[in-house]
Amino acid sequence: MAAPRRQTRRLERFELRGGLLGRYAVRRLVGSVPLLWGIVTLLFILLHAAPGDPMAAFFNPNVSPDVLEQMRRNFGLDQSLLEQYGRWLGNFVTGDFGFSYSRLRPVREVLAEALPNTLWLGATSLVVTFVVGCTVGIVQAVRQYSRLDHGLTFAALSLYSIPTFWLGVVLVLLVSSNAWPAWLDLPISGMQSLDYAELGAWDRIVDRIRHLILPTIALGLSSAAAVARYMRGSMLETIDEDYIRTARAKGLSERRVILRHALANALLPVISLVGLFLPILFGGAVVIEVIFSWPGMGRVMVDAIGARDYPLVLAASFLFATLVIVANLLADLLYAWVDPRIRYS
């Protein structure tokens, strides 16, 4: 009796993975197209609603009005708003983000260089956030109301209230102070050492990782505190369930009950937090990249604002939003994959 049922369930699962999940993925993918369109439109509205003449930066007694008029035409500012909007939309669809005044290079090249660095930093921080957060949350839930639980709750609350930039600055201060042990010395700026080119393959990897440590901690720690709070709540709720009592009644070790039966279910709602924390991490990355001289998109964006390089600012902003949408999509698919219930809704 038991065997055939298991088989049908396996079949069902197989069918779900191929069929429903695929359909769900397509549906969500199509759903994000209007979202992207909305983002491009919003940026256009922002650019044109902003007070001031976009040409103001070029006003100069030495520039003749004819030249200005010519530049205005070159930028397409003499066309109607609708025409400008059409061109704007077309450019974004084809991936042509214009020319960066401050770097004198196409915006696309600048961002293509910076994007992987930001993704790199974001990915390690995301992993740290969830690994640390979930571990702490589980420990707290298992030892509910113990001194350890209270201590960790307080620590999480403090970390959660610490601004990312200040944590970064304090970490730099700590590492560069005299009291810091020399053997633990960590680089505080850039992605690689000056002599990176002369290092061997293994040393290069070590060098990269060493440069990642401080920015990752600064970026991920406060989100980890938030994840810990959720994980604790989710775990406590799961521990109350009947199936956990059953697992205990079967005589399983507490370790097995927690790590296999409870954890799998408690993790489900926490996975859905990935999409929630990604915008926060990317937003924090802007600040962290500035502090640790990390050559990513956030730093590009802040530098571009200093130089009033609007095409670069808007394109970076668009790319950040796109990243969030894509990441959300992946998080939702991951969630639908681990929790079949979601696919039916």
Partner: protein
């Protein structure tokens, strides 16, 4: 108990027997205020000869502060164990037993009072530079300068105090704007449903696709920042989480009997929403707003840190941390104190927010935040309900 002159000389002293902690705190607050009045009598007198609005505000706050202390100390004595069983007083009594939340409330009161009294409290003018720059800059904390001095010999304590005024004002006002907007949009969307709902919720999805800091940076880059602009922009980029939360609640509330009754009586839509529906969503909104203030202060500080926030002459915590980085090794106090001020402020609001959540929604008490419905707080994800929506994250 009868009124005795002691209530006005030293409020709290007669409660020491029954409520030692509260009595002691009342006395401390009372004595601190009087100490301030005595020590700063010069400045208070100056207020009457052509004081600016700030000074009058501070003067008024002293009077109100003294009055509140007297009132509280009298209430403490006459209070019966429980006067009513209304939801509100039940929640209030739960909140009062929540120690971390009461700590947060106390800290926020102190911070708010410090912000209001800054013109009297601050030992120096925040923008006055030392007369002899070489001798007065980078002085470590001392009695004359409890938090040291910065690059220009300016007093860090005074700057932290003035920076706190800006931060608290911006945080509170921006959240007020955000919560009002979010409640209205969410309530209308949930109540009207149909295309209104679709359009506004797609708008929410759209705005939530941006990391909030990135959206803010983009807007601020295009508009020259001033305190008013920053407040407005923070308010306009912070309403989405609240509106999702409110919409979700309203969707279920609109089917309840009392709303149907109101509709059957022929009340207008706005009246039903404002009088019958929105008051019933008050608790999650209050929690979201409290947690939102802390969050907004964090974001504002990040913006100032990047040099895109409150413009230069006005001191702000984020800007102080950023400027202090240049001299971090020789003068760490310039970065440390404003940072600690941010942490303390944000933590106080978070403590209150947690306490309010536990008090207003007893089911979640002691559990920390419930696993959240993602639609309510952020992410353009699929609909899913994973427990009670708690809202207010999403920065």
């Amino acid at each position: 108990m009868t009124v005795s002159p002691l209530d006005f000389l030293l409020p709290g002293v007669r409660s020491l027997g029954r409520h030692p902690v509260q009595g002691l705190l009342t006395m401390v607050a009372w004595l601190t205020l009087w100490a301030l009045i005595v020590l700063r009598r010069g400045r208070i007198v100056e207020t009457f000869s052509g004081g600016a609005f700030d000074e009058w505000l501070a003067f008024g706050s002293i009077l109100v502060g003294l009055y509140i202390i007297v009132r509280l100390s009298r209430q403490m004595k006459t209070e019966s164990p429980r006067r009513s069983e209304s939801q509100r007083s039940l929640a209030w009594s739960r909140f009062r037993r929540h120690r971390p939340a009461m700590l947060g409330l106390g800290l926020v009161s102190v911070l708010a009072m410090a912000a209001l009294l800054t013109p009297y409290l601050a030992p120096y003018d925040p923008s006055i530079q030392g007369a002899d720059l070489v001798a007065t800059r980078f002085r470590p904390p001392s009695l004359a300068h409890p938090m040291g001095t910065d690059h220009f010999g300016r007093d860090v304590l005074s700057r932290v105090l003035y920076g706190g005024r800006t931060s608290l004002a911006i945080g509170t006002l921006a959240v007020l704007i955000a919560v009002t907007l979010g409640t209205l949009i969410g309530a209308v969307a949930g109540y009207r449903r149909g295309w209104v709902d679709t359009v506004s919720m797609r708008g929410v999805d759209l705005l939530l696709s941006f990391p909030r800091l990135v959206l803010l940076i983009t807007v601020v880059a295009l508009v020259d920042p001033s305190i008013a602009v920053i407040t407005l922009v923070l308010g306009l980029t912070g309403w989405m989480a609240t509106s999702r939360l409110v919409r979700g609640e309203v969707l279920s509330l609109r089917e309840r009997e009392f709303v149907q009754a109101a509709r059957a009586l022929g009340f207008s839509g706005p009246r039903i929403l404002l009088r019958h529906v929105i008051p019933n969503v008050a608790s999650p909104i209050i929690v979201a707003a409290t947690l939102g203030i802390g969050n907004t202060i964090l974001i504002e500080a990040s913006l100032s840190f990047l040099g895109l926030g409150v413009p230069a002459p006005a001191p702000s915590w984020g800007e102080m941390v950023a400027r202090g980085r240049d001299a971090m090794i020789e003068a760490p106090w310039i970065t440390l104190f404003p940072g600690l001020a941010i942490v303390l402020t944000v933590m106080s609001f978070n403590l209150i927010g947690d306490g309010l959540r536990d008090a207003l929604d007893p089911r979640s008490a002691g559990r920390g935040p419930a696993p959240t419905d993602r639609r309510a707080v952020g992410g353009a994800g699929a609909t899913r309900a994973v427990g009670a929506a708690s809202g207010a994250i999403g920065s």
